[in-house]
Point group: C2
Chain length 115, copies 2
């Protein structure tokens, strides 16, 4: 189930969510782990974001949690946290290349500045 | 990071959380996917649980989300849901076999009966 997410769908989601200009989103995929951690940290530090949403699908869900933990516990410890009600999980059904209905799970983790 | 969870630690967690007699917990590991889905469903149906917590560490986090989605959207659709504030993520540091400090992420998803 998890390995069945076509890349074009992941990219589609990123594009849709990025149309909101105030929306700081990091979409987790197969690039090196630290790319995503840096992406999150930089949005808070150099881009002055107040909220950064880390999204992932399928097998990248575990990675998204790792990235959030490293960002909050190591790089920006004491400065950012997971928002209250800031974790959502869900799933979407779509048709894969073989015409089969498959369900893919996703996670969204919302990080905010600590007061 | 994700693949560094020794099995004995995963099992330890299950044992600790299961000491509370009213606690229905499913700890996700490498067994066949449907074992865990059945585990969740059975606790609601044959064991009359009001809450079942699905826990996972490291790379099994993605699986835990898949299991919760299949249980809520397919097997017990309309009957159970993720509790409000029912998703927790976090991480723990521990020393691995080589004496190195490693951090492992975890997720806990709390499922309840729908009203």
């Amino acid at each position: 189930m998890s390995d069945d997410v076509p890349q074009e769908i992941s990219e589609g989601v990123t594009k849709i969510t990025d149309t909101k200009s105030d929306n700081h989103t990091v979409f987790v995929g197969p690039k090196p782990f630290m790319n995503y951690v840096t992406g999150v940290v930089m949005q808070f530090t150099t881009q002055s974001a107040n909220e950064v949403v880390v999204k992932a699908r399928g097998r990248f869900i575990s990675r998204a949690v790792d990235i959030v933990e490293v960002a909050t516990k190591r790089f920006l410890e004491g400065q950012i946290e997971i928002a209250r009600d800031g974790i959502k999980v869900g799933s979407e059904e779509f048709e894969n290349k073989e015409g089969k209905q498959v369900r893919v799970s996703y996670i969204e983790l919302s990080l905010i500045r600590k007061n």
